[in-house]
Amino acid sequence: MNPKLRLATVWLGGCSGCHMSLLDLDEWLIDLAAHVDLVYSPIADTKIFPAGVDLALVEGAIANDEHLELVHTIRKQSRILVSLGDCAVTGNVTALRNPLGAAAPTLQQIYVDHGDPRGIIPAEPGIVPVLLDTVVPVHAVVPVDHFLPGCPPPAPRIRALLEALLEGRTPDAQGPEMLRFG
């Protein structure tokens, strides 16, 4: 029997909707569990991204210094990296702030100028991650092996990708079932 695939799922600058869609695979998750070891995930109690990951599903854009550091670790320690969902693939909703300018003017506009009541800019070094000036998709920072668009990608789309990768095939990246953004 093949050894189990070491699977990591990561939640960067996104809303966790892609992970919700993953959970929408319902009973197929039980089949999946027979083939994978979930070694890192928001739904697993692991704090450190482990070495020797076979497949990393990355949800969310790169929006702060924590994401930036983590995505380099993920790339270094994962054989296959998949951008899961529109935020990882395009920046999407997470990147809507980009036209507001760099991190400082963005925070000023959101927390102070339009804050109700007028707020203060969060700054807790070492606790609150520092925003990057520009939100970028994952492939703008590290090479990505497969892209799975969708906000969120529908569960059958995630399943099709996982089935292909489990069988050692290249996932099909054609047609509305696999590609549609939004």
Binding site: T90, L96, N98, V136, P137, L179
Partner: protein, 233 residues
């Protein structure tokens, strides 16, 4: 009218002498992708998606008239690569966020991305500051979603006969404008007929009050209006 004989992807085809390559290809059952073309309106060759190879040279199919003996290729690997580049550049140029767009699910840009196999954009997103004009009583304009196809401009000018819309500026600063670049709601020429909304391929023009995925355009109705008028003379 004289007929011309030409080759489309190696197949002999005959076309009327005043037909464009796009029309001749369509008659021959060859589908060439387009965004700025809309049946019923004149062609301007703005989006470049319909580029084809004619004797090895690139020509926009929508604005090139057929001629005798043309040797046309519509789907070479090079053309497919160019088309994908074009669609990626359109997505990179403005804030096209399908997830929060009124036209999601009914958008020609979104559909074209699927058709051309765009799984990600290789270019840096420009993230420009784009305004939203909701000064009009019934309609809105979001420049984030505009691809400058100018279908609204042509529908307004050629079908409604008003020419409220035009394009101002150059390059990435180009924007569709109403009248003398004043808020749409203050336009003196706009008849609020809504033909620009019918023609718009994306969520750039929308009915006020429409939220995510609620805006359905009806581009085919432009051709219907033009045809009905022609029949009545």
């Amino acid at each position: 009218m004289a007929a011309k004989t030409l080759l489309i992807n190696g197949t002999m085809v005959s076309a009327r002498e005043d037909e464009t390559i796009l029309e001749a290809a369509r008659d021959a059952g060859v589908k060439i992708p387009t965004l700025c073309h809309l049946d019923g309106l004149s062609d301007v060759g703005a989006c470049r998606l319909c580029l084809v190879e004619v004797g090895g040279r690139l020509r926009p199919a929508c604005t090139t008239t057929v001629s005798e003996g043309m040797d046309i290729r519509t789907h070479t690997d090079a053309l497919k690569a160019y088309r994908r580049q074009i669609i990626e550049l359109l997505f990179a140029e403005r804030g096209h966020v399908c997830a929060v767009c009124v036209a999601s699910g009914h958008c020609e840009l979104q559909d074209m991305a699927v058709a051309l196999g765009m799984d990600h954009v290789r270019y840096e997103y420009l993230a420009p500051t784009c305004t939203v004009d909701i000064s009009h009583e019934r309609f809105g304009l979001d420049h984030n979603r505009c691809i400058l196809c100018s279908r609204c401009v042509r529908a307004c000018d050629e079908v409604e006969g008003v020419h409220t819309w035009d394009v101002a500026g150059r390059g990435t600063s180009a924007r569709v404008i109403t009248d003398m670049n004043q808020p749409w709601g203050e336009s003196e020429t706009c008849t609020a007929c809504g033909k620009c909304l019918l023609a718009c391929p994306t969520g750039a023009l929308f009915k006020r009050g429409a939220t995510v995925a609620e805006m359905e355009h009806s581009p085919a109705r432009i051709a219907m209006i033009v045809e009905s008028r022609r029949v009545r003379g």
